[in-house]
């Protein structure tokens, strides 16, 4: 458990404590709402978690390395953006992976595209997003995030060379 989770729990316990002292009934209602919305999302959440497991068996760091590492230029950026969009790799695996790829001579542009799309675009989670934002808004958010990720990748790639 990292310090961040500890802080999250401390804040929650404190908030619940204050709420409980002020109004037991309201606190009970808050718990009921929390439980219901958690139960509401849990099946979809668990499915996504398991999909991560299945995709990680196929789209391994080696596969990603071979796909992004070798293809350079615009083609490489497109491959990286596509991979970042469809995969769901947690940050604690993605960043070391990206660092490794850079050592293997992958470009910063490709890495930036991969990381940005990985964080902002979610194909696997799209259905869940639709449930909360509606299909139109969810689609527009993802498309905007994708275009931005590709564009900014070139800017970052350029600046990494140009800046001292």
């Amino acid at each position: 458990m990292n310090w961040f989770n500890i802080a999250l729990y401390l804040v929650s316990v404190l908030a619940v404590g204050i709420s409980f002292v002020k109004d037991k009934q309201k606190t009970r209602m808050a718990f009921k709402k929390a439980f219901k919305s958690l139960e509401n999302i849990l099946p979809a959440m668990l499915v996504i978690l398991m999909v991560i497991g299945v995709t990680m068996a196929w789209i391994t760091p080696e596969v990603i390395s071979s796909l992004i590492g070798e293809s350079s230029g615009i083609w490489g950026v497109m491959v990286a953006s596509f991979l970042g969009s469809i995969t769901l790799i947690p940050g604690f695996i993605a960043f070391p992976l990206a660092a490794n790829l850079l050592k293997l001579n992958a470009g910063y542009t490709q890495m930036a595209a991969f990381i940005s799309t990985l964080m902002m675009v979610g194909v696997v989670t799209f259905q869940m997003e639709t449930k909360y934002l509606g299909a139109g808004l969810a689609l527009k958010r993802n498309v905007a995030a994708f275009i931005y990720s590709v564009l900014i990748a070139f800017v970052i790639g350029g600046l990494m060379i140009w800046l001292p």
Binding site: L8, A34, V47, F95
Partner: protein, 182 residues
Amino acid sequence: MAAMIKRYRMFFLLVIINLIILFSGFEQGPIAFKAAALNLKEMLLVLPPIFILMGLLDVWVKRETMIVWMGDKSGFKGMSLAFLLGSAAAGPLYAAFPITYTMAKKGVSITNILVFLGAWSTLKIPLLLFEFSNLGVKFTLIRLFFNVFAIAFLSWLVKGLMTERDHRAFEESIVKNDALSD
């Protein structure tokens, strides 16, 4: 019981697939399983406190108050709050979607909800620190610099590109989730 099995059938099916991958001698089997298990642990750890905080927000903070703070006319203050809330986050982006429901219900503007999602996806402080240590200060700072402006701009842009139908679908999703959580 039958209803529960039906609700979780996809999950059980995927657990079985994961177990098959694990035991079928796939080179990646153990790594894939470990990634799924680590994610599961992280989610089970982080979700309950987040949802309880959302529940407390729901019962304690009045809609009128939230509209003043983060509603359509909240301006710079509202957007700054959305940035702060998003970057103080824990967990992957898909954990943020249920939170947007409570925000929308309380009258937080769509632009600010999008800013919150944007900040959650790329400005999470623990993740930024990890990016620093792996990819270097220069790379992280350049990305951070552009992302802050882009999140504000893209949120405004996406909100502006919404059609009547998108707005209706958004409202409907709030109503639907409302029925499920009361």
